[in-house]
């Protein structure tokens, strides 16, 4: 698979209203051999999506859609850190 196809799939999935829907979209649109790398790539794209949500409540709500037993296991903390850094950059 062309890396760009995989990245485009992750970018599109990151815009879904919940993390679970994003994961479902990846599994629907990619061959199973690419699921792991796609799921490892998704959290980085989700950071920008969460930051783009209009209110803190919406951002919190989205974060709550990330399953407790997600793959990779650090996905939620990675997204939290990424959003924190992107937000801090915006405030500068």
């Amino acid at each position: 698979m062309n890396p760009n196809s995989l990245l485009n799939a992750c970018k599109a999935a990151a815009k879904k209203p919940s993390y679970g829907q994003a994961l479902d979209m990846l599994e629907r649109n990619l061959d199973s051999e690419f699921w792991d790398v796609a799921k490892a790539t998704l959290p980085f794209y989700v950071c920008g999506h969460v930051l783009d949500l209009s209110t803190a409540a919406e951002r919190r709500e989205y974060m709550e859609t990330i399953p407790a037993s997600v793959y990779p296991t650090n996905a939620k903390s990675l997204i939290e850190m990424g959003v924190r850094k992107l937000y801090a950059d915006l405030q500068r």
Binding site: P72, N74, K85
Partner: protein
Amino acid sequence: MQTFRDDLRRGEAVEKDFLDRLLVSFKHATKSVGKNSRYDILIPELDAKVEVKFDPMSRETGNIVVEYFHNQPSGLHTTESDHWLFYDGVDEYWLTLTDLIGICASQSPTRIHGRGDRHPKWVYLVPIEVIRKNARQ
């Protein structure tokens, strides 16, 4: 020509050199043991773990390589280090894990096949200027 083994040896020498410098101030600092360790140096006095990345190629390419998937989650996904030190052979840059993840989240990843690697790696090629701009003093 540099081999994978040479790269590894130089990387380990950089870690050792950095640890020696740290030991001047933090006498309990230690280097991790084992190739699957999720940090390179532990500083108990600061409750801090440090990942040391020696990337001399970045002086030619202009980019620092930050890995996150190598046949399984790796690098940014598996690290326990809250501080990352990038050394290009001349300059060193300190970043927090939070800063590094945020930087990567605003870039596009790419797939590379490293020397001596059986599987391709998914990485972020972060411009050295971006690293420099975000580095802590």
